[in-house]
């Protein structure tokens, strides 16, 4: 064989090897701690301040990443409402065990007392699902789903897709944020927001507009005392949890922002993470499930790491 032919064969072998490696090499047998420790700066992305919402409670800050790819009108409206300080002084009025907490205007039903809206909108057409766009990032999970043909992640968001209907939608996992509504589909808009605090109520998928995900501070919501009224509404005014303020992070001075980065989900590192949770390698585990459900995949978050100077 000529040296040129030999070189070509080597190159072809390399290409084939790389292709096989990319397609069929088993994921590394790592724990989640191992995956996190081995992750590189490129495996993380900072939150975009323009699409991050802060709920400021007396107990601390809840950080929500907004999902303009899935609910563009609702996200724009929630930001508009936050920017006109619509939410400031409203309250968490509902905490239903194993279901949701909900913030709202306690006087919403009293026209003379209800908070006025300046530039935002009270209601919007529903954004329960959207056209399946193959250009939107989607890392599919391997183990199927009881509710949808395909599930996976688009950035930090749990997503379901149905190729037959050509639709995709955000799913009701723990920490997902939605726009409460009354019976008509177009009666929501973001003036009332709920957060899932229990077993994923997937029957709500495609029934309500989801618009974001709590990235930090879930325990400030999930551990609130449960309301004793119907559907977990607080029965007494003093039980409500006041919202000091709701702000778009971009409007908060940089020094006061929660500087967080979230694991990217379009990487082999994320696939390693999923595998580390499908088959737990920690010594404590005697049986490996070999499967994982959409809402059981953790979403790693960490403070932004200061970069060394170049």
């Amino acid at each position: 064989m000529s040296s040129r032919a030999s070189w070509l064969v080597s190159l072809l072998l390399l290409v084939v090897w790389t292709a096989i490696g990319a397609d069929t090499s088993p994921p590394k047998a790592l724990t989640m701690a191992g995956v996190l420790a081995a992750s590189q700066p490129a495996d993380w992305r900072p939150l975009d301040p323009e699409n991050t919402l802060y709920l400021e409670l007396a107990s601390g800050r809840v950080v929500i990443e907004l999902a303009p790819n899935f609910a563009p009108q609702h996200v724009a409206n929630v930001k508009a409402l936050a920017r006109e300080h619509y939410y400031d002084g409203l309250a968490i009025v509902r905490s239903q065990d194993n279901y949701v907490v909900q913030l709202a205007d306690p006087n919403a039903e009293k026209p003379e007392l209800a908070r006025k809206i300046q530039k935002g909108k009270r209601t919007l057409p529903p954004e329960f699902e959207r056209a399946l766009d193959p250009k939107l990032p989607f890392t599919r999970l391997p183990d199927g789903d009881v509710y949808a043909p395909e599930v996976g992640f688009s950035a930090a968001f749990p997503v379901a897709r149905d190729p037959k209907t050509g639709k995709m939608w955000l799913t009701h996992c723990y920490g997902m944020v939605g726009a409460g509504r009354d019976a008509p589909a177009d009666s929501g808009g973001g003036t009332e927001l709920y957060v899932v605090i229990g077993q994923a109520p997937r029957h709500l998928d495609r029934n309500v507009t989801l618009l974001g995900r709590v990235i930090q501070g879930m325990e400030l919501l999930s551990a609130l005392p449960r309301g004793t009224g119907a559907m977990g509404f607080y029965e007494r005014t003093e039980q409500r949890v006041p919202l000091k303020a709701v702000r778009v992070a971009a409007d908060v001075p940089a020094a006061e922002r929660s500087s967080l980065e979230v694991m990217r989900t379009d990487t082999t590192t994320f696939q390693d993470l999923v595998e580390s949770r499908r088959n737990r390698r920690e010594d404590w585990f005697h049986f490996q499930a070999g499967h994982i459900e959409l809402c059981n995949v953790p979403m790693p978050v960490r403070p932004v790491t200061p970069q060394p100077p170049h």
Copy 2:
């Protein structure tokens, strides 16, 4: 046709009709409220005081139904420990968001201070799964499961089965109660108990012995402040939640018992209930999921209805 033949044909038709009715009639299109309203006394069963455990907290009582069919040794041991008042004065020492709360002896690691055991056992062989006994009640759900070949209910307990391995096991749904353990499989026994308070951690199935289910009082556990230590352990003594007492209901005077009945799961009423949750008929819903996941099936509980005198 003789009258006798005619009678036989009628009888056969009746049998065939009944069989068809039982096998193929679509479930009634009812809401859960409708199913509950239409339920008959025979659709309910009272809790067995001998297999019911009360956790008495300052905030109230947590009622647990024990599962001797699945963890006979652990159930017997927890009852023995309760009967020697082993748990009284111990505490909830851990509350990890979206995961579990756990009760334990805060001094378990200090031999001179640790609570002594009289008749119970500190550790037991694991009861992570048991032989699949087709004689045990099992109402299978129709929509599959990400983690197991078959799932459904045996009495109030969510159960998975694998005909290939010939095993069945309790699953980690919200409110399920298990025996905490260290790394060795046989290091648990019931001196430490945990309760699931978040998205079902199904990767724990077959890794820990589950022994019961909270039937009432979940909100006394799920809304506890989260611990700030590793794995949600409380870092300060005063954060722990003392156990006033843990009692087998049979040992409590009848007048002081929580007199509850639970919906039977081996009935057509329960199948109607499941259907009412697979396809929500309430006006609020615009989309019907057509599926339900094991841990999303509610388990109706109500006070025992006084029976009219015969």
